[in-house]
């Protein structure tokens, strides 16, 4: 009984902010007050018609899409190299590639800002994409690496003995068997990139800013529930992504097995 209460209490504590945001998003009045005074979808309408959010949504899709498209093959290659390659100082490489960036977001953002300025790329989305690649790569490498480690090296030898060139062996044997890790890595990369804020704040402007930055800028200027509505949409999207991941691959297996 006590345990049950404790668990319920903890879950309530952890989900309360989310619940509050979702509730407030349906508030008919233009203030961020809880509990809501009624039910209205006007703030959702506002989200979808506000031009700066539309632009930021497109930016988010471009940046996340570009970063994921780069990070997935690069991360897969890195995971294979870590496991198979004869690298000097493998442990150091592994530590760097497998842990999410540990420097504070502000410091990383500042670094990217200075670099982008030096390269004259401040107005470009490419620097955002580059930064996102650096931020999501560890998640991709880690997910794929777990799949690589579960792979019997004899399988590729078997494929070779049966006449498959190294590339064909990779395509017909290795890649299909890495699929769970690739899929998990893809989902994590998307979720992390879509929600990234601190670093992106440093290196974007009104034209290139992604949704979380646009949301922040909105909150600075206005305090109506529009931002709650957008947050609710974000929460829903993330929830769906994690649900998909859990449904189509055993996340416990991917992450707990080493």
């Amino acid at each position: 009984m006590i345990f049950r209460l404790a668990v319920v209490g903890l879950v309530a504590f952890m989900t309360l902010p989310t619940v509050v945001v979702i509730a407030v998003s349906f508030n008919p009045t233009a203030i961020l007050s809880f509990p809501p005074a009624g039910f209205s979808l006007r703030w959702y309408e506002n989200v979808l018609t506000y031009p700066q959010f539309q632009r930021a949504a497109v930016n988010s899709l471009l940046v996340t899409g570009g970063a994921v498209a780069l990070a997935l093959p690069v991360g897969t290659f890195a995971a294979l190299a870590l496991e198979r390659g004869r690298l000097r100082g493998r442990h150091v490489w592994a530590a760097v590639l497998l842990s999410p960036v540990v420097v504070p977001g502000v410091a990383a953002g500042l670094g990217f800002l200075i670099l982008a300025a030096a390269l004259g790329l401040l107005r470009s989305r490419s620097v955002l994409i580059a930064a996102h690649v650096a931020l999501i790569l560890p998640f991709v490498v880690r997910s794929v690496w777990v799949s690589v480690r579960n792979l019997d090296p004899a399988l590729e030898r078997a494929a070779a003995s049966l006449g498959a060139t190294p590339w064909r062996a990779f395509r017909r044997v290795t890649l299909p068997l890495l699929r769970p890790g690739l899929f998990a890595g893809l989902l994590f990369a998307i979720v992390v990139s879509l929600n990234e804020f601190v670093v992106s704040l440093f290196i974007s402007n009104r034209v290139t800013e992604i949704l979380p930055v646009a949301m922040f800028n909105y909150v600075v200027n206005y305090t109506d529930p529009t931002i709650a509505a957008l947050s609710s949409l974000f929460i829903a999207a993330t929830f769906v992504a994690v649900w998909l991941a859990d449904r189509y691959l055993d996340l416990g297996r991917v992450f707990l097995r080493h």
Binding site: D152, L155, R157, A158, S161, L162, A164
Partner: protein
């Protein structure tokens, strides 16, 4: 199939050391040795999975030393079977044929034949993980044989099976090899497997071949102490030659040897004898040594007796039950050592 002076180093470790080996057409050859003796590395050299540090590999007279594994066209069965878990049994077997871009009807026919050969024609749609260990083993065999390779390489193919299954599979393996008539090289650490399956055995130790010969030859005439120790149980006695065919062991009477090479008098000699050739009997006679029983291990069909000679050397004896003399620890027994049972070690 031929290896010429093949050497393979892993860092400072020499896994295979200047190996020369010729394998005949349709022969079943076992590479036998303890773990770490270089037998699996030898197999990997032949398959092309690792390049030799030095030496040459020839198949049908052609030098294939620099040829990558996928162009060697050999069949390999791995210890772990290495079946592709994401493909059905049928697709596993079809893998090599698809790589060779054969027409669909041809693939259909040959996969069917291969699965029939290993009696798995009804399991084609299943995934490897749904099959028992023995069945997986047969899938691996079918997959390796389906494109009719010139040479079949087997890496401890029976090691992962339990004892009963292993014996059945051993007979089946031999039958399939005879049917297909394929040159087969078989890596094992199990002497019984090697003795029972192969035409010739290469006993390996520390990256070298200690002895190469037919199973009976290896068992009855081991060339070195290592082979005598590794294949079957044996007792090695140290003595001094007192004539071309006479050896003095300890304080006992000189032993008479039959059928061995002539010894030079005065030379130190090592004699090996199989425990099943030593007899315990009360009477006196030629080639009889006295010993004290030190240990008895009753095993049902036989009893293993450890006896110590007067000079301290130990002799292992397998006594078929029921024992001809009552056995007790501490008792003095007479060991009858037949003259033709001795193997003179190099």
């Amino acid at each position: 199939m031929e290896l010429r002076g093949c050497t393979r180093d892993y860092g400072a470790v020499r896994a295979v050391d200047g190996l020369d080996l010729s394998v005949y057409e349709s022969e079943f050859l076992a590479l036998l040795g303890p773990s770490g003796c270089g037998k699996t590395t030898t197999l990997n050299l032949i398959a092309g999975f690792v390049p030799p540090t030095a030496g040459q590999i020839l198949i049908d007279g052609a030098d294939v030393t620099g040829r990558p594994a996928h162009l060697r066209g050999l069949g390999v069965v791995f210890q772990s079977y290495a079946l592709f878990p994401h493909l059905s049994v049928w697709e596993n077997v079809a893998f090599a044929l698809r790589e060779r871009r054969l027409p669909a009807s041809e693939i259909e026919r040959r996969v069917g034949e291969a699965l029939e050969l290993v009696r798995l024609d009804r399991r084609g749609r299943q995934r490897p993980a749904e099959l028992s260990g023995g069945m997986q083993q047969r899938v691996a065999l079918a997959r390796a044989l389906v494109y009719r390779p010139r040479v079949l390489l087997l890496d401890e193919p029976l090691a992962a099976l339990d004892k009963k299954l292993r014996e059945g599979m051993r007979d089946e393996l031999r039958a399939i090899q005879r049917t297909v008539g394929i040159t087969t090289i078989f890596v094992t650490h199990d002497q019984a497997e090697a003795l029972g399956l192969s035409d010739r055995i290469a006993v390996m130790s520390q990256g070298r071949i200690e002895q190469l010969g037919a199973p009976r030859e290896i068992y009855e005439h081991p060339a070195t102490r290592f082979v005598a120790d590794f294949i079957g149980a044996s007792t090695v006695l140290r003595g001094r030659a007192v004539g071309a065919d006479r050896v003095a062991v300890g304080t006992g009477p000189a032993l008479h040897l039959a059928g061995s090479r002539a010894l030079s008098a005065g030379a130190e000699v090592e004699l090996a004898i199989r425990p099943e050739r030593v007899r315990l009997a009360p009477g006196a006679g030629d080639n009889v040594l006295e010993a004290r029983v030190e240990g008895l291990v009753y095993q049902g069909a036989q009893t293993e007796v450890t006896a110590r000679l007067h000079d301290g050397q130990r002799v292992l004896v397998f006594v078929t039950e029921p024992a001809p003399v009552p056995l007790a620890v501490g008792q003095t027994v007479r060991l009858h050592l037949p003259a033709d049972a001795f193997m003179v070690l190099a």
